[in-house]
């Protein structure tokens, strides 16, 4: 039996998925969720094989929800999202259904799921790396800390630090880990505000109080919080450009 969960903030949107699933004897719906928070809880509890996921939802959106999961299920997106945005994840999701969709289209998506389930996990990872242009993602980052979900507004980030496979996000309230790459953040954070000043550091330029020379061609950025962050020669060039020096 395939275990599934439906995550959508509109009751009627969930009911149409349920209706289409009635003929599918091998798929059971374990739970329906209203938003991303509920979704994370339900997925961790039930460990479903397949989820039907809307993108725009209260609390956190579908992509942010997926990012928080260590073990990602296969995903069929159900969304009214504009088509151009969908191009980004066309290659990676099991399938995406543009609302409104027909039963035939829905069944085709299920066929795809049955056909390619084993490779799905990797695809979902790739998908999340490729999606950088959702509006909410330019305003905040969602992290999980001690079982709780924390939403960090972008301006509150002091700096980012590479930490093995993770990125450590430093804020006034402490540091949080996120399993993305430095490259991802370098590209997705606002370029006039965040600068990759070092292989292992991205800095919020508004936090800088001064920059001191340090050994040969390197510098040290001193932040308002008192933190001292190394600036490489290359990074110093970028920093000067953003600060207009």
């Amino acid at each position: 039996m395939i275990r599934s969960i439906i995550i959508d903030d509109e009751p009627l949107a969930r009911s149409i998925v349920k209706e289409y699933l009635q003929d599918q004897k091998e798929i059971e719906v374990l739970q329906e969720c209203n938003d991303g928070f509920e979704g994370v809880k339900a997925i961790m509890q039930h460990k479903p094989h397949l989820i039907f996921l809307d993108i725009q939802m209260p609390k956190i959106n579908g992509f942010e929800m997926l990012e928080l999961l260590d073990e990602k299920p296969s995903v069929i997106f159900t969304t009214a999202f504009d088509e151009y945005a969908i191009k980004a994840f066309e290659a990676h999701a099991v399938d995406y259904l543009l609302k409104p969709f027909t039963k035939e289209r829905f069944e085709k998506a299920l066929e795809k799921f049955f056909g390619q389930a084993p490779v799905q996990k990797k695809n979902t990872e790739e998908l999340l790396q490729s999606v950088t242009h959702l509006p909410s993602q330019s305003e905040r980052i969602v992290v999980k800390t001690a079982g709780k979900i924390k939403i960090i507004p972008i301006p509150e980030i002091l700096y980012l630090e590479a930490a093995d496979d993770y990125v450590k996000i430093h804020t006034k309230e402490g540091a949080f880990l996120k399993n993305k790459t430095m490259g991802f953040f370098e590209n997705s954070l606002p370029q006039d505000q965040f600068v990759r000043i070092h292989r292992s550091y991205i800095l919020n330029v508004q936090e800088i109080t001064r920059i001191d020379p340090y050994e040969k061609e390197n510098h040290l950025a001193i932040l308002r919080s008192g933190a001292r962050i190394p600036v490489s020669k290359n990074g110093y060039g970028k920093l000067k450009k953003v600060l207009g020096l």
């Binding site: 009627l12 009911s15 209706e19 209203n34 609390k59 609302k99 409104p100």
Partner: protein, 344 residues
Amino acid sequence: MATSPLTTIQFKLAFAAWWLCWGVLHAFVMNWFGFAWNVAIWESVINNLLLAGCALLVTITLQFYIPQKNRYGYILGLCSVLAILWLFLSRSLLMLVLKEASDYERFFSQSVPIRFAIGFLIIGCMALISVLWYTINDQREIEKRKEEADKLSRDAELFKLRQQLQPHFLFNSLNSINALIGSQPQKARNMIQQLSDFLRGTLKKEDHQWISLEEELQHLQLYLEIEKVRFGHRLSTLITNETSGMKLPAMLLQPVVENAIKFGLYDTVGDITISIDAKKGDGSLVLQVQNPFDPETSSPRKGTGFGLSSVQRRLYLLFARNDLLKTEINEQLFTTTIKIPQQK
């Protein structure tokens, strides 16, 4: 400022070639009049170098300044002055170089009118070419700018159309209708009707029109009813209107209500109320829209907060005032107030 014709390589080549031919011809004519070759060549080189310099001077001058009024008078004057200057300079230089040549001074004095005419003609030709060049360049520049402006306004038009149709809202509503068709066909029919009426109303609206408040509220009621179907019992609305006969510009209240729906309904969980309240004050229509928001996920920023800057901009364009839109945050309630001065 237009680019000078001197920046193109073809022009430079043509210019140089022409002066070379002209100079050679000049020397031959002098020789034919009976002057020795060295006198003829000196005369040609000095005269023509100076004249070419004057021609360049006129091009450069016209690049920086062509008067709007009486431009041909200005060009004539400029050419005359330059031609006289040229005559004076070439005479002084030639007398210095060729002071031994007999008869030369007399010849120069006799030919002054002819020399002036030739100088004036050549400088004048150069001036005309330059003016033509700069005018054509300017014209091209203007056309390019106009094209860009046209493109911008077309893009804006398209963007507006897309905004008006709100594809996200439309497709989600259609999806709800799709779900209703199976379970509650009568409700589905109802919703199709509401959606059609709402879209028709939106398409009918023109930005510059003024419409009655009653009409606008009726239109928004349709929108809110559709959202109620989509989100079940989560949404309740409270619309109060204490005014009568008041008017407002089209497409002004709708974005405010859409904004309230976005932050109050799409981005929240649980039951919520959105209220629209219309009052009269100081000869103005005062509209107040209230919505709750989720402080955990969306923090209304300073300034106009949320996405109301386009409403602010429209109010400014309509009334040249920046104080007509106000927002307020009270606990978890976001209040938008717009004041609309009534037309006499």
